[in-house]
Amino acid sequence: MDFLTNVKLAIYRTIAETTHAPTVADVAQQLGARVDDVQNAFAELHAKHLLVPEPGDPTRIRMAPPFSGVSTPFRVTVNAKTYHANCVWDALGIPAALHADGMVRARDAHSKESMTLVIRHGSPKPTPCVVHFAVPAAHWWDDVIYT
């Protein structure tokens, strides 16, 4: 397995296990690698849209989609662990990535009413809701934190 894949899996498996995103230093220690090499791998994963660094601090992770490196309004519980997702798409992406049932706690973006989405036996439980996309697909990564 190449180095970039090792870094990618270290990031994703650490989040899946701990619910927290590792830093460059964390991954370097875990892999016994040089910090500079891991930093370059973070940048390469960003270019592949598999990671978004924290603005102003490329050693930290803001997003490793579907997971968020910071607290968000989308809390997702899977296998008794609670993760944060970047958006409602990613909120469903967490049980999809972990191949497990899950529960998403979120709010209506306008009314702030609490909403719960449940994934059970591989599909979402019918729930009154809609998902609105404000940004066309071609521009999702222009400012992915906004998207």
Binding site: P66, W89, I119
Partner: protein
């Protein structure tokens, strides 16, 4: 993308932010996108779908409007 209880709250949110109402999708459509994007994310082979794959996935769930074209500038 944001979650709303109904199309009415989407319209209210768009009006409050002075934005046009853009496409909406259902929970079942979103689940297809979530599984297509992320079901292999913890594997060696994981990667984001490319533009052609995205269009194929969108088309499969009825999202064929130019809004969903990842190549539109």
């Amino acid at each position: 993308m944001l979650l709303f209880r109904s199309e009415e709250t989407v319209a209210e949110w768009c009006a409050a932010h002075e934005l046009p109402v853009r496409p909406m999708i259902t929970l079942d459509q979103l689940w297809v996108l979530a599984t297509e994007w992320y079901s292999n994310r913890l594997t060696e082979e994981s990667r984001r779908p490319g533009p052609a794959e995205m269009q194929e996935i969108f088309g499969r769930i009825g999202l064929t409007d130019p809004f969903w074209d990842p190549n539109t500038v």
